[in-house]
Amino acid sequence: MGALMVIFSLQPKQRSKTRDSVEDELELSAVRHRPEGLEQLEAQTRFSRKELQILYRGFKNECPSGVVNEETFKDIYSQFFPQGDASTYAHFLFNAFDTDHNGSVSFEDFVMGLSILLRGTIQEKLNWAFNLYDINKDGYITKEEMLDIMKAIYDMMGKCTYPVLKEETPRQHVEVFFQKMDKNKDGVVTIDEFIDCCQNDENIMRSMHLFENVL
C-alpha cells in the first residue's frame, strides 16, 4: 500500500514536466517570423520589388510560419526528385542557405541566397558553390567532403539509372574533380584554386549563366 502511495505521488511531477514541454511546443509553433521590410530587402538583394513580392508569396504559401526548418526543406526539395533520395543534398543545401546557422531558413536567408545564385557575379556564384562543398566551412574542400557531396548528388538519381550506378562512380567522379581543381596536388582545394580553375573551364562558365532568367 505504501509503495503504491509513493508511486502515485511521483506521477504529478512528471505530469507537470510534460505540461511545461507542451507549453514550450506551443511557444515554438507560435513563433512567426516576419521579414524585414520590402525596401531593406530591395537594397540588400538584387531583386526588384515585384520579384521580391512574387518570391515572398510563394515562400509564405509553403511555410506559413515564415521560416523553413530542415525537415520541411528536405521534404520540399525531395519532391523535385521523385526517383532518388534528395535528403542528403538538401541537408547540404540547407546549411549553405542557413548562413547564420540557427537551424532555420528565414525569408531573408532564402532571398539572399537566391540573389547570389540568380543575379550575382560569377565570382559570387563560385564562392557560393565553394561554400556549399566546404561542409565544415574551414576554407578547404577535402576529398572526404567532396565525396559526401558527390554521393548526395548521385543519391538523387535513385536506383533506376542508365547505366547502372556502381559503388565507385562517385569516388571516380571525385578523383576527376580533384585532378582538375587541385593544382598543387596537396589533397585539398582552396577557394582560389577553385575559382581559378572554374574560370578557365568554359563549360562551367557557360553553365553558370544558365539560370539567370529563372525569375
Binding site: G58, Y77, Q83, L118, W128, I153, C160, Y162, V164
Partner: protein, 648 residues
Amino acid sequence: MATGVAAWLPFARAAAIGWMPVANCPMPVAPRDNSKRQDELIILNVSGRRFQTWRTTLDRYPDTLLGSSEKDFFYNEESKEYFFDRDPDAFRSILNFYRTGKLHYPRHECISAYDEELTFFGIIPEIIGDCCYEEYKDRKRENLERLQDDQEENKDQKLPNMNFRETMWRAFENPHTSTMALVFYYVTGFFIAISVITNVVETVPCGTTANQKDMPCGERYTVAFFCMDTACVMIFTVEYLMRLFAAPSRYRFMRSVMSIIDVVAILPYYIGLVMTNNEDVSGAFVTLRVFRVFRIFKFSRHSQGLRILGYTLKSCASELGFLLFSLTMAIIIFATVMFYAEKGSSSSKFTSIPASFWYTIVTMTTLGYGDMVPKTIAGKIFGSICSLSGVLVIALPVPVIVSNFSRIYHQNQRADKRRAQKKARLARIRISKSGSGNAFIQCKRNGLLNELLELTDTEEDEQKLLTKSISLLESQHHHLLHCLEKTTAHEFVDEQMYEQNCLETVLPNYPSRSPSISSQDSSAGTCCGRRGKRNSPLPNASLPSTHQGPLQELSAIHIQCGDPPFHTASRSNLNLKTDNSGRINCKGGRITTAIISLPTPPALTPDGDGLHGPPQRRPLPPPGHPATPSIQTTSSSAGTNIVKVSAL
C-alpha cells in the same frame, strides 16, 4: 512533381548551380519562358460571389477546368470576369485546392453535391487530402449502400420474362412476394412445428395399459404417430425437391447449410423405412430418430433471429474457443489436484482423473450436484478453491468476451477500412511519384524529338505542336532533372529498362574491338554526345567499358534517328501528332529486344533497321556478317521502345 511546391521550383533551379562545378559536360539549354506577361488577377464570379486569385495559381493544375482554356467558355465579356452558375460554398474548397494544393472535403456538404462539383471542375476526388479522405470515403460508401438498398427493393418486383423456375425460386426466397409463396411459407412452418411437437409428445408416458408399466405415447399410438411422421416427411421431401428444382445453381444449393439441415431432417425416416425388418439394427435406428430434432433448425428459414445468432456464433468462434481452452486448462488442473488429494481416502468416488473431471465441471459451474464430494481435508480445501475459481473462470470471461466481441468486430471493420485506405493511399503516392518520374522520361523522349526536329529543320508548326503539350513548369522541372543527369553522367530510366540493364550486366562484357564512331568524333572524351553531327550511319556498338561509353553510343544512335525519313520499312508510332512526312523513323519493336539480343546487323541491311542498334556491351560484327538478331520481343514494345534508343 507536386504542383504544390511549384513556387519552390525557381529555388531548386537556382540551387542547381551547386552542381555545375562538378559536372564534366555542358548543360542543356533552359526552356524559354515565352510568356513574360505580368501575373494578373482573375475574377471568378460564382453565382454572385466574387473570388479573385492570381492567374498563376489557377495555372498550377492545367488539367482541370479552371487551369485550362476550358474556362474561356465561361468568360463574360462585359464584366471581364468568369461566371460560373454553381454553388459558391462548394467552390470555396475547390479554389482552396488551387491555392494550397490540398483538396479538403467539408463535412457539412452533401456527398453527391460535392462529387458533382468536383466533376464539373475536372478535379478527381482521389486527391482529397488524408485529413478528409476517410470521411469522404465513409460518406461515399453510405451513399452507395443507400442506393443499393433502393435497388434491392426493386429486385423483388417481378421481372417480365421470368420463367417458371425463376418465379418459384423467388417465391421460396421472398415469401411476401405472392400469396402462394406466403401460403407455402406458413404451411411448411406449421408442419415443422407439428413434426417437432410430435417428436416430443411421442416420448411422454401416456397412461398405463392393464399389465404394463407406463408406456410412452409413441408406443401406444404407433400408427397415429407414424402417419403424422409420414405426412411431415412427405411435405418436407416435396419442399426439398421443389427447392432443388428451382435453385439457380443446384450444386451451390446442395452445399448450403439449410439444405443439409433439410436432408438430415428427413433422412432418418427413409433409413427407418428401409431398416424396420432387421431387429439387430433397430437400436441404431432408434438413435437415428435423434436426428429428427434437427427439423427444428428448419425454423431458421422462418426466423431472422436464429440466423443472426448462428452468424454471431460463427464470427466469435475464436473467443469461444479461448473460453473453452481456458476452461479445459482449469478443469484438468483441478481434476488432477482433486484426484491426488482424494487418493488417500477409501471409497472415494475420485477413481481416476477423468472421473474427477465431472466433479470439477460441476463445481466450477457452481452446479454442485453433490454426487461426488471430497472427504479428505486437503480435498475439501482444494474443492473450495475450485469452486471459488470456478466463479472467476466462468463468470469473468463471458462479459469480457461479449464486449470484446463487439469491440473487436467494430475494430476489425475499421481496421480493414483503414488498411484498404492505406493501400489506396500508398498506391496514390506511388502512382504520383512514378507518374512524375515517367513524365520526365516521356518528356525526354519528346524533348529529344524536339531537338531532332530542329536538326532536320522541319516546320515550326510541328515543333510548336510538340512543345505545347507540356506546361512551362513541367519543362523547367524536366530541365532541372536533365541538368542532374548531365552532372552525374547517368540517366533516369524507368523500372523495366533498369531491370533489363541489370540482366544485361550479368552477361559478360566483351572487350571492344572496333572503335566507336563517336569516340573518334568526340573530343576530350566527354560523356555527352555530339548532337549536331550527322555522321555515317554505322552504328558500331562496341563500347569502352566505362559508363561514359554507352552514352557515346546512344548519341550515335541519336544522330541516326535524326536521319531524314528515307527508310521505308515500318515506322513506329511515336504518339506524335505530326503527319507522316515529319515522322521520325525510330523503329519500335526491335529496339527493345536488341538490348538482350545478339548483335544486330549494321546499318545497311535492306530494311535500314540496323541503325538502331542496341546500346549494348557486345561488339558488332563488321558489316557484312549476317548476324541474326535474336528477337526477344518483350511485352513493352510499342511506346516505350523509343525511350531506349533515343534516350540520351
